[in-house]
């Protein structure tokens, strides 16, 4: 008896490890395949969870199946059918059941169709709040758990759990399609997807790589996946290039004294040459497609920031003006003005920045930019006040220390 027990225990460890590996690498794909039939993310998640629990005991007894992914998918489908049989009075659920039974009759799937693009478009639908889109995409496609997502967005876990439940209920209840959008609505919907992924990226970039799940890596994974599933799209490539060209500078972003550093002052030896080379190659390929868009422009700006020996400011200013045609926001105008000042027109830039006061007086970078421009145009007294205001509003120590050092230079 003891030998039998220790035998199954010995087998349980590799089984658990294999299940963990499969779930880590293929959870998004399995969930997408299940949701394609069920049209209900919550039900798909619960069924997959139950299948994983069954796998632990089954695989422990019978050994690993030839296709663990196919096994999980088939068992999850059966679990979903069991659940649906209880509630078939609802006509939509009955339809899902019919689809599932048809799927189940198929032989064990070795090659599971990749439905993740449809899942991504459903999760990033503009009928959902931005934060919910991001959270749901991280949950379903990247496989982060609720606690990890809550931590990344500085939310309490129950709050994030409720947000995820509400979003899944809205997808099912409002009839958000589980589909890749048609050409008519493609540009707007792709923008909603890429903007959501970009928010994942910037959240990770600000937090730094110390978090257990690095959101910059998750964003890069997502945009590479979208590029693979929908190749030859200039804006998808633009988004990927922009992330690569930005994350390449991450290790150099903060100086030894803890101050955030602009690209011109960074230690170039810390930049990731492989990512820069890949980002540039992808951006060049995207631009050859002659379908300009905001992400390609942002990638080009990130590239110009790294020009040797210093950023190509006239080009950056021109790119921000081009971006303004896609995103006519005060923040884009502010960035254009900053580049214009660096390119040699600080007085004109200052006039533009002063004109944004009504829109941006609560926006910390506006105060920081205004301080720098006041100093460039020789107004030291006003610059000191502006720096003090920017320091009070600084989002974190790196920005605060950077501004304090700038202020100290004036005071001397």
């Amino acid at each position: 008896m003891g030998a039998a027990a220790s035998g199954s225990a010995a087998r349980a460890i590799p089984v658990a490890r294999e299940l963990d590996r499969v779930m880590r690498s293929d959870q998004g794909r399995l969930l997408a395949a299940l949701t394609a039939g069920l049209r209900d993310i919550s039900l798909a998640e619960e069924a997959l969870q139950e299948a994983a629990i069954s796998a632990l005991s089954h695989w422990g007894r019978t050994g690993l199946p030839a296709s663990p992914q196919g096994w999980l998918l088939q068992v999850a489908r059966r679990k979903a059918i069991d659940r649906l049989r209880g509630i078939t009075r609802d006509t939509r659920k009955a339809e899902a059941l019919t689809r599932l039974v048809a799927d189940e009759a198929a032989p064990e799937p070795e090659a599971i169709p990749d439905e993740r693009l449809r899942l991504i478009f459903a999760c990033c639908h503009p009928a959902l709040e931005m934060k919910s889109r991001v959270a749901l995409t991280l949950r379903t496609v990247c496989g982060l758990d609720t606690a990890e997502i809550a931590r990344a967005f500085l939310d309490a876990e129950p709050t994030m759990g409720q947000r995820l439940s509400r979003a899944k209920a809205k997808i099912a209840g409002a009839g958000i399609p589980f589909a890749v959008p048609n050409a008519e609505i493609w540009p707007a919907r792709l923008d909603a997807v890429l903007t959501s992924v970009y928010l994942i990226f910037t959240t990770g970039y600000v937090a730094g790589p110390s978090e257990p799940r690095d959101l910059c890596r998750e964003a890069e994974y997502l945009v590479r996946l979208i590029d693979k599933l929908h190749p030859n799209d200039s804006e998808i490539e633009g988004a990927l290039a922009m992330m690569l060209l930005t994350v390449a500078r991450r290790a150099a972003r903060i100086g030894l004294d803890g101050a955030s550093l602009p690209p011109a002052e960074q230690d170039r030896s810390l930049w990731d040459c492989d990512r820069i080379a890949e980002g540039r190659a992808i951006l060049a390929r995207a631009m050859q497609r002659r379908g300009p868009g905001p992400f390609q422009i942002k990638a080009a700006i990130a590239d110009c920031q790294m020009a040797n020996p210093q950023p190509d400011w006239p080009q950056i200013a021109a790119l921000y003006y081009a971006l303004w045609h896609f995103e006519p926001t005060p923040v884009v105008t502010l960035n254009a003005a900053v580049a214009m000042a660096e390119a040699g027109q600080p007085a004109r830039a200052l006039a533009i920045v002063e004109g944004l006061a009504a829109d941006l007086s609560d926006y910390q970078p506006w105060h920081a930019a205004r301080a720098a421009l006041l100093l460039m145009t020789g107004n030291r007294t006003e610059a000191v006040y502006a720096y003090q205001k920017a320091i009070i509003l600084a989002p974190g120590p790196p920005e605060r220390i950077f501004l304090e050092r700038r202020l100290a230079r004036i005071a001397v």
């Binding site: 609802d90 409002a174 009839g175």
Partner: protein, 119 residues
């Protein structure tokens, strides 16, 4: 799925009767109606009289309370609706965007529940 497209707008910013803008709006409604009919998605649709004609009712402790006026005193009022039958939210949003009042008001898109009390 059936969706109700609820048209909310502020009468103060609506095009005034008799102006070219009013004509254009009515032309837009006509075009939207024809399109929905031609596509076979239109189930029903009506415009509502102004809120000065509205009466609201609720029952409190078994007693019917009747009030003059609409449910909520806001600038934007429910002015009319369409019910359409389409496969999903994306298609419903496409038709909602054809409604001219979306240019000066808001169109709320809500799925109908799965039963019909009218049988």
């Amino acid at each position: 799925m059936q969706y109700m497209l609820l048209m909310y707008n502020n009468p103060a910013v609506e095009p005034a009767y008799g102006t070219p803008e009013f004509q254009e709006m009515m032309g837009g409604f006509f075009a939207a109606n024809e399109r929905m009919k031609a596509d076979g998605v239109l189930r029903s649709g009506e415009g509502l009289q102004g809120i000065e004609t509205a009466t609201s009712l609720r029952i409190k402790s078994g007693k019917v309370e009747t009030m003059d006026g609409p449910f909520a005193e806001t600038r934007e009022h429910l002015g009319g609706y369409y019910v359409i039958d389409v496969p999903d939210l994306d298609v419903a949003l496409k038709y909602a965007a054809m409604i001219p009042s979306a240019h000066f008001g808001t169109v709320e898109v809500r799925p109908l529940m799965n039963y019909n009390p009218a049988g």
